[in-house]
Each structure stands twice: as C-alpha cells, then as structure tokens.
Symmetry: C2
Subunit: 380 residues, 2 copies
C-alpha cells in the first residue's frame, strides 16, 4: 500500500523531484560547485522572502534559527516584546526567558491573533523595547497575524522587528523589505516541501549594525561568523548539503510556478478547505485563519477519533491540537506543493471519516463545497 | 562522466543504500513509526560508541553538538582544560571563550598529540578544573590522541571528560563507558557515511547530574529538554528525519559487517595508505597517525598542485591543510565505507599525479606497497 499522505502543517509532503535531489552524489562543501549552489539558493530565497538582505542558512530545525535571531538581535537584560497567542509564538518568550531578557507579553486567546493596536499600546507604556518578536502564521491555532501592521508599529517605536515566518512563507504574502522587517525566520519542511533539518534567516542593515555589539554567548548560531563566511558564499560550519540540494530544486519549482501563483494556490486550497469544513457542519477555530493550516473544532465528534480514522482508514495524516488544545481541535495542513486533487483527497478523507464515525450530517457537502470554491476561483 | 570521488576526511562517500534511504517517503516525526526508528538508531549508536548512556541526536553539524556538550557540562566562570593541537581541538577553546570560561590550554605542535602526562601536569598545577575537553582524532593534522589515557587522568582529578570523537568513530576503537568518558560527540558525515546535518552526543550519569545545575543560557541545545523528550523516544524540536533514516541504514551496515571488522578495515586501509605514501618518497605529517585521514608533506611537490591534479585528472577529491598548514600538507581521507579497491583508486590517483607533476621518484611503488599491506593483513 502507498505510504500515508501527509497533510500536517509540517513536515509537508515532499515532491518527487525534491526528494530525488537528496539522492545526488555528495558534493564537498568547500568547493566552487557548492558555493554556486549556495548562491543560487540564497538568491531564490531572497526572491521568496522579498528582500535584498543577506540570508544565513543553518543545519538546524526552525527553532535553531529562531534562537539565532534572538541571540544576535538582543543583549542580556534587554527589554523585548513578544506577541503570544499559541505554542509557536510563545516559543519566542521561552527563548527570551532562557536568555534572561525582560519580556513584555502581549497576549491573545489561542485561536485569535494579537493585533497591532495591542502592540502599540504596550510600546506606548514601556520605554526602551529593543525588539518585537512576532509570528506571521501561528501554526498551533491556524491564525494569521498582521505582521505588516505589527512591523510598522515596532519601527515607529524604534524597536527591531523579528518575524517567525516559518509556516507563512509560500502560503502568504511576505514582503520583508517593504514591511521593514529586520529579521525573518523560515524553515525547510514547511512551504518549501523539503525534509526537515534546514532553517534560515534574513537580516536587515539595521539588525546587522546591532549584532556587532557585545551580546549573549553563542558559537554555532553566531551570525557575525556566518555572515563573514557568506561573503565568499561559504558557511561557518559544515552545511547540510543534501538538504540544500533539495531546497534548490524546491525553489526552482517555485520560480517555475511563479511566487504569486504559489501564494494564490495556497489561498485557493485554504479557502476550499475552510468552505468544506463549514459545509460539513464543523466550526473553524481561528478567528482569522491563515493559508497554511485549518484548525477545526470537532463539534459532536472527537478530535482524536477523527485524526485516527483519517489515518487508519484513508491513509491521510493530519495533526491534533497542541498544549491545552490537545483533543480539542484537529488541524488540516495544506502548506506546500498541494494541488486541487490533493485537497479533494484531504476533504474526501475527512468526509468519509465523519460518515464512519456517524457524525456527518450532510454526506457529499464537503467535497461539493471545495469544488465550488475551486470552480469559482477559476471563473474569477 | 562519473562524479568526483570523495576522499576527504568528511563529508565522506555515501553508500548507495544510505543515499537511497533519504529518498524514502517522509515520515511524520510525532508518530510511533518514527519513535521506533529513533530508538533503533539510538541503540545502534550506543553499540558503536560502546555505551549504555542516553544519546541525543541534533539537527546540526558536529560543531552544534560540541557546543551542546560544553554549554550543558559547564557553568559560567568554570575553569576548563582544552588539549589543543589542531583546528578542531582548538574549536573547544573557541567555544569555551564564547561562553566566558577560564580555559587552560595544554598544547602540542600541530602534527603531534597532546599527551596524558601533559594533561596530568596541568591538572596538578590548576585546582578545580570542572571539565577536560579533548579530541580523539585531530582531523586537521591526522593525529591520534590517547583519549583513554586523557580520560583516566581527568577522572582521577575529578574533572568531567568530554571527547570529540567526530572523526574517530568507526575508524578507531572508542570505549566510552570502559574509558569513563562523560560526553562523547559524533557526526553523521564522517565514519557513518551519511550526508552532513546530523550530530549527536552521549551523556554519563555523572555528566547528567551536573547539567541540572543553573548554567549558561541555551535553548535549542538544552539537553534537559532533549533528554526529557528522549524518555518517550521523541525529540525536543523537529528532527532531520531523512538524515536519521540514512543513519539507520548506515548503522545496520555497520552491524552487518561487525563493528570490530569496520574498525580493523579502517586500520588496514590507513596502514596501506601510509605505506604507499612512504613508498612514494613522501613524508607523513602526524607523529602518531590516526585511521581517519593521512596528512602528507608534499616533499619537492606543491600540496596545491597535487590536490588540483588529483581532482582534475583523476576525479579524486582530497583535502588540503587548514589554517597555517594551508599549502603545506595534503590530507588523504579514508574514513567511511571504503574497500581495498577504493584505496587502490586513491593511491593510483596519487601515484599518477606525482608522475604527471614530475615528482614521482618510483612509479608503481605506491600501489605495490598498499597491495603488500593488504596481502599481509589477509595472511595474518
């Protein structure tokens, strides 16, 4: 039987072309050949992130690049602000706590975004905030934050703005330079459809000036060293070469499709999933849903039963809720190289599952709603 | 034409079976299936390292695991001792400096090992050394250190002993528990013949007790969190799943061949290379050479010319010297899944290169010497 199809908000399904890239013979990383690959990957990442700033790629999961961002952008004792409304936005606060920063939390209930107004209110109250750490799409709840608005406020108050765009890249419009974002963090196993193990960040000139100050102790994630190596399209330590080869292929697939088309495909897929969920009589959890994943309240059903049945009967793996949302919601991932047909697969599995569990009030309605959305998008 | 054959001391050549493992469909990491894989990889790593202690695997290059070892094994202001005799052993001192440790350097000239006697002398002079950081095989010079002897001294003086075994694992006998080593660090792209991007460390009970004390700030490399996740065969953050799949295959190849056989194959390959180098009238750089790589003084030749010619004429990639040894030596890597035939390929390329460059005093002598060594080993 075919392996389970991943519809989790990361790792996401890896296209065959990307997977095959990892099987290429090993290239030594201290060679002209590899330098060209790193340059190519960097330039295409700059295109996706819409920045002219340098991009540092780490052999590490996304959390590693988040830590690198915080460690290099702040000094011990700094006052920072974190927009907290889910597991991953709270991670900024955890990392800040590990480094002994004075952290102002600006909260929203899980399922809702922190709004720019709240950030402004906090910055008005607290002087000398060095950096604002925010999250573009909060994967644990499927919520979209107004990263542009938050960035604008942060800059207005003279704070660096650091954005975790790990699950928003490719799925949402991200305009790093136009929004004035100082540091943006991304990872391989999300919208890029590459296996996990690679993460990266971009750095504005303003952020670059700050990292040369005496800061926290660090070595592997020291951006000064990484940026120096990058001048020669090199890395400070051995890079994850095969994942970088995979990333190159994924990025060329994005260039072929066109970044705008990639984003609008995500938008269509997400809309179709949301329409289907509603047509099936279920409720969306996020007050402002993102295009990466749809968090769903199971209604009369049990989230655990739905997740288990989708995997065991239909070979479709989705995700559950995290922390206090465990058992309360399920999450349908549609981040990455998914086609209309893939979305039909996902919705059919959900619909079948609800029938199996005796909690589908309207058989056929889910797929119908998704199809209508796709047809409408084609007509527009 | 076939791609360049890697004879560098890392990344090393990746066997087809290992490479194919990365092309397997993605497994989600929060599943029973992945937990079983991680358990399997951990147990086989314990076998190679000869330890019963827990092993934490990171998505990071070897340097990341080195930093994790130091950050978790020491506290700010601690006095530590570093055995420094090459680029990679000096890296311990660089990381210690980044964390503001009080570092006692015990040096040897590059090309020579730091000896246990020197370590003992330093420990006798300096009270309260919390940890000794050493390197089993110094890749930059091809030198083998007496890690067992150094570990014994460190324990005698009540210091933790942390060993970088990144290039010695699979190539040398490493007896973590028998030698009383507290932390041992390894990486994927060396003796395991897996692409770069994965590193790991093992932790003794003695080390475990120390890491629960208040230490340096850290998050991604926080072992307390990693060990807690490991209790359930899980990882704190998203692991590099495809590299772990590759590692599983490499480890099963090692089990099939038998660890003793793997090590003795490395010993034979290294001896054959050394005999060939000497038969070709060249000089070994290391006073006590390791089985991972052979550092060679180019005699009348130029190291750069030799490296370039081996690659351009013979498609064989070897490494140069590092730091002040750049241009002064070349390094033949024989770490990983190399057969007798592979070693003949390497030696033939070197011999041909010396002829091409007009500096081969004795054509045929290199391959002959290597062959004699292999035949002698078979007869023994």
């Amino acid at each position: 039987m075919d392996p389970t199809k991943l519809f989790t908000p990361g790792p996401t399904a890896v296209p065959r072309r990307v997977q095959d890239a990892m099987g290429q013979p090993l290239i030594h990383h201290r060679t002209e050949e590899f330098r060209e690959i790193l340059r190519d990957v960097t330039r295409n990442l700059q295109h996706v992130i819409r920045t002219d700033n340098p991009i540092v790629v780490f052999a590490a999961s996304g959390t590693g690049a988040m830590e690198a961002a915080l460690v290099n952008a702040t000094k011990p004792g700094d006052k920072v602000l974190v927009t907290a409304c889910g597991k991953f936005s709270n991670r900024w606060a955890e990392i800040a706590a590990a480094y002994g920063l004075d952290t102002i939390m600006v909260d929203a209930k899980w399922g809702q975004p922190v709004e720019p107004d709240q950030v402004e209110e906090a910055l008005r109250k607290h002087d000398g905030v060095r950096a604002v750490f925010t999250t573009h799409t909060e994967t644990s709840t499927g919520v979209l934050l107004d990263a542009e608005g938050i960035a604008m406020i942060a800059r207005e108050y003279g704070a660096l703005i650091v954005v975790d765009a790990i699950t928003s890249l490719c799925a949402q419009e991200v305009k790093t330079d136009a929004w004035g974002v100082d540091v943006i963090v991304g990872g391989s196993q999300k919208g890029f459809g590459v296996p996990p193990g690679l993460s990266f960040l971009s750095l504005s000139k303003r952020a670059l000036e700050k990292i040369h100050q005496k800061g926290h102790p660090c070595y592997y994630f020291d951006l000064t060293k990484a940026l120096k190596a990058l001048e020669n399209w090199d890395t400070a330590y051995t890079p994850a070469t095969q994942l970088i080869l995979a990333m190159r292929v994924a990025l060329s697939m994005i260039r072929e499709e066109g970044l705008e088309n990639v984003i609008s495909r995500h938008e269509k897929n997400a809309s179709a999933v949301r329409d289907a969920v509603l047509a099936l009589g279920l409720e969306l959890f996020a007050s402002r849903p993102c295009n990466a994943a749809t968090a769903v309240l199971p209604g009369k059903g049990s989230a655990g039963d739905i997740i288990r049945t989708m995997e065991s009967h239909y070979g479709v793996k989705i995700a559950g809720g995290q922390a206090h949302l465990s058992g309360k919601i399920f999450r349908l991932g549609h981040l990455g190289f998914y086609t209309e047909t893939d979305i039909h697969t996902l919705i059919s599995a959900l619909e079948g599952t609800l029938i199996d569990l005796g909690i589908n009030p309207a058989p056929g309605k889910g797929v119908e709603a998704a199809m209508r959305r796709f047809q409408k998008a084609r007509a527009d």
